[in-house]
Amino acid sequence: MSNYIPTIGVEVHVELKTNTKIFSPSVNGYGQMANSLTNVIDLGYPGTLPTLNEEVINLAIKACKVLNCKIRREMHFDRKNYFYPDNPKNYQITQFETPIGYDGYVEIEVNGKTKKIEIEEMHIEEDTCKSTHRKDKTLLDFNRAGVPLIEIVTKPCMESSEEAKLYLEKLKELLFYSDISDCKMEEGSMRADANVSIRKNESDPYGTKVEIKNIGSISNVGLSIEKEIKRQEKLYESGKSFKEQTRRYDDKLGDTVLMRVKETGNDYRYFPEPDIPYVYITDEMISNVEKTIPMLPDERRSKYIDLGVSPFKANKLVNNRSLSDYFNTLLDSNINFDIASNLLLGDISGYLNKEEKVITDTTLTKERFIDLVNNIDNNNLSSRNLKDILSKVLESNSSIEEIIKTSGIKNITDDSKIREVIVSIINNNPDSVNDYKAGKDRAIKYLMGQVMKETKGSVNPKMANEILLEELNK
């Protein structure tokens, strides 16, 4: 059964993070009272005309840049005509003939290899209004009508649900990092459709295409593609064929469900939007946008790793945009980046989560953070002791030295004092000493734990470890 090759293409709608809507001055916002963010243009009132929000063009140019798309310099909008209650003018203003971006790609890592996911095109369009179906009526919320979207369409170039998920994660990271969109699938600011077909051999033509619409999360994209591949395999294996169709993923059922069979191609009667003149994208517009693109995730990861941060931690940092931005401010300082990343991901993250703050809400300036890292690096402060002074570090403006001094923390760096404690512990734990001599490494950990307990964590662990080994090997 599993000797089929799946072919997968993904279409993603992303709401752009603009202040106002694409064609009207209404606020672009989420979670507001229904129909409070609308005006006559969003409602398609007679006589209204669209204006064009420049922010949208700039964000779309930015998206082209981060997704390696070519940018069309002369473009226009088109009308897509269809009747639906969520479509206030009964046409949607979109780009059909001249999408702003084309021939782009995103790189993902699959099984240790880099694969380019090719982007066929990216176009700008307006969102529809949100409809809520009740028993005998449909409620319409026009707050979403006219929210700017970009639609990003890949070529049918993915061969597994894993690749589709990795692509979406990468896409989300890139668009989020470059401030193009919130990319919150749960709020609908990022929505994905997957096109799935299967065939026996690479040389065969593509199989019948099934579109899975509006999948609510990246993990469901994976699950729905897997289910759909299995469903199609079963049909082919039992000698059945099927028509091109649109399905949706039912979370409760854990399977895809038929929405409609495509009888003939939809006739959207596209034609150039006469109310919006051609848009010309200049070199200047592009270079202005380029200046606003921050360092992207892949570059961040490799920089961090080069500075001595483990790949795992580098990834964790990048997953937290505000921490990563903070970390970026340190990149040209000469500090122990392993300690710096530990601090940010460990105690500091714990504090921030508990307090529901981001790092820029704290008093930890770059200079104080560097001091903190150096104090730990120089054994003036143990991580155990850091916990006791953390709130002062993050909430006051006192220097790190001052805080250490006034907190009465004294790191025992006196060799003889540490040795005194260690000798006494060795004497009190003969069993562990025997275990160690029998080659059980676990014993070391236990003894170190005892040392830390005895000294309340105020010894430098590295130093204590060395002395412990010295004493044990005597």
Binding site: L43, P46, G47, L49, N81, N90, D267, P277
Partner: protein
């Protein structure tokens, strides 16, 4: 009072010898007397009187101050019903003003009412109106033309001095010609379309309809300008369109395309135009007959572009957010079908159907896109003429106004009424119709003067000269 010149009226207002309310009441009296002409769909009497009284304490700060104006019913007016002469909008009360209406109000003009028209401006005799056709004041058995038939009627009947019309394929100039008034279609982009209910977006333009050329230019002065709400409005600097009126016309160069004087035009009209040409030549205006390509293709191109755009522009009338939905629809499909079947008249339905067909599948490429490209060629053809000539002239219509009861079943007839005016919309150029005489059956004949892009001032210059020479066609 309303038979005086606007300069005189302005002086009387300034010296407080008359008040705006006098003008408003006089206009309503006239409209009442001419009620059978059916020029209006909705009157704004209560508000107009209120506004006139408010103005009594205000300084008379411009020449249009306190003057009544009629607005075609496809231009939205806040709190004043705007129907587009359609059943589907016959209960529609807009919550905003069109940009031109804001401008009119900022001049303290007083809106008297909304004028009758072809449904959604689709027609050339105003007979597709849901509210019955207006009648021609020259002969009540005849049409006033269309689609701005109501605005033309109220000016020709001398109810008041100012009206706004709209012109997608001749809808200001053709009724102006049929009723013997002055109607200007400005350059596309000159006047904001924000608040003009769209018929064919790439062609629609609002313009002034008045009893004479000077007043026409004055009203145009008041409504032009770049509007940030209309991306197709031009940022050409605002100018005074009266500035060339009365200036010497000798040595101007005028072209007459042979097509405009071909046998599609009635002999009687050609004679009147020839008289005008003679008059110009006698006054040292150089007049040449020229050949122009594409003019005979304009109606076909127009049908493709206008109906294609209309089919999309009129999609929004589904009764969901405003308008007149059907009672008790079975489901959403039925809501769309029944609301639109009940709400639109035959001509509108015909154009939506043809337009939808023209944009369907590959047809968009075969027809709409091709029409747009030929249209560009047509623009270039006009540009070539304007390299050598200041203006183009010809008749506005092929015949004078015909009978109201003439057959409406030939859908092509209505387009052929506009065969001489449509090319100008295709090229986006400004053009005016002014009366130059009467036919043997005492119906007005209009002269069409076409200018280069954004050169309305030169049109007014020649138009006012001819107006002065021809004199009042009533006399």
């Amino acid at each position: 009072m309303l038979d005086k010149s606007i300069k005189e009226i302005n002086e009387l207002l300034k010296s407080k010898k008359i008040k705006p309310i006098d003008l408003v009441l006089e206009a309503f009296d006239n409209i009442e007397k001419n009620k059978d002409l059916n020029a209006y769909i909705t009157l704004n009497k209560e508000e107009a009187i209120k506004k006139a009284k408010e103005l009594e304490d205000k300084e008379v700060d411009n020449i249009l101050f306190g003057l009544p104006i009629a607005i075609k019913d496809n231009i939205v007016t806040k709190d004043l019903r705007t129907t587009c002469a359609s059943h589907i909008l016959d209960n529609f009360i807009p919550i905003y003003d069109a940009t031109v209406v804001e401008k009119i109000k900022s001049k303290n003009m007083i809106i008297i009412g909304k004028t009758n028209m072809d449904e959604f401006a689709m027609g050339s005799s105003s007979r597709t109106s849901y509210f019955d056709a207006p009648k021609n004041p020259w002969n009540k058995n005849k049409i006033s033309g269309g689609s701005s038939g109501g605005s033309a009627t109220t000016i020709a009947a001398k109810d008041l001095l100012f009206a706004l019309g709209t012109d997608t394929g001749g809808s200001i100039r053709q009724p102006a010609a049929y009723t013997g008034i002055v109607g200007m279609k400005p350059t596309y982009g000159r006047v904001s379309r924000y608040g003009l209910v769209a018929f064919a977006s790439s062609l629609d333009q609002i313009g002034p309809m008045t009893r004479n050329v000077y007043e026409n230019a004055v009203l145009l002065n008041a409504i032009v300008g770049k509007d940030p709400k209309d991306l197709t409005s031009s940022n050409k600097e605002v100018e005074d369109f009266t500035r060339l009126i009365g200036k010497d016309v000798s040595n101007m160069k005028v072209a007459v395309p042979n097509y405009f004087m071909s046998d599609i035009v009635s002999d009687e009209i050609k004679e009147k135009v020839k008289d005008t040409i003679k008059l110009l030549e006698d006054n040292n205006v150089e007049v040449d007959y020229i050949d122009m390509k594409y003019l005979d293709k304009a109606v076909t191109l127009y049908q493709v572009i206008a109906m294609g755009e209309a089919s999309s522009n009129l999609a929004r009338y589904d009764g969901i957010r405003y308008g007149n939905p059907t009672d008790n629809p079975k489901d959403i499909e039925d809501l769309y079908l029944s609301t639109r079947a009940e709400g639109f008249g035959d001509e509108v339905k015909r154009r939506i159907m043809v337009g939808s067909y023209l944009l369907s599948g590959d047809n968009a490429k075969t027809y709409y896109n091709k029409a747009l490209s030929i249209r560009d060629d047509m623009k270039k053809e006009f540009s070539k003429v304007f390299e050598k000539y200041d203006l183009i002239i010809g008749p506005t219509t092929t015949t004078t106004a015909y009978n109201l009861d003439e057959d409406m079943d030939d859908p092509l007839k209505s387009f052929m009424d506009d065969v001489l005016v449509i090319p100008i919309n295709m090229a986006g150029l400004p053009a005016i119709s002014i009366p130059v005489g009467l036919s043997s059956d005492k119906m007005p004949v209009g002269l069409h003067i076409i200018g280069n892009s954004f050169d309305e001032a030169t049109i007014y210059k020649l138009a006012s000269f001819i107006e002065k020479k021809v004199g009042d066609i009533n006399e």
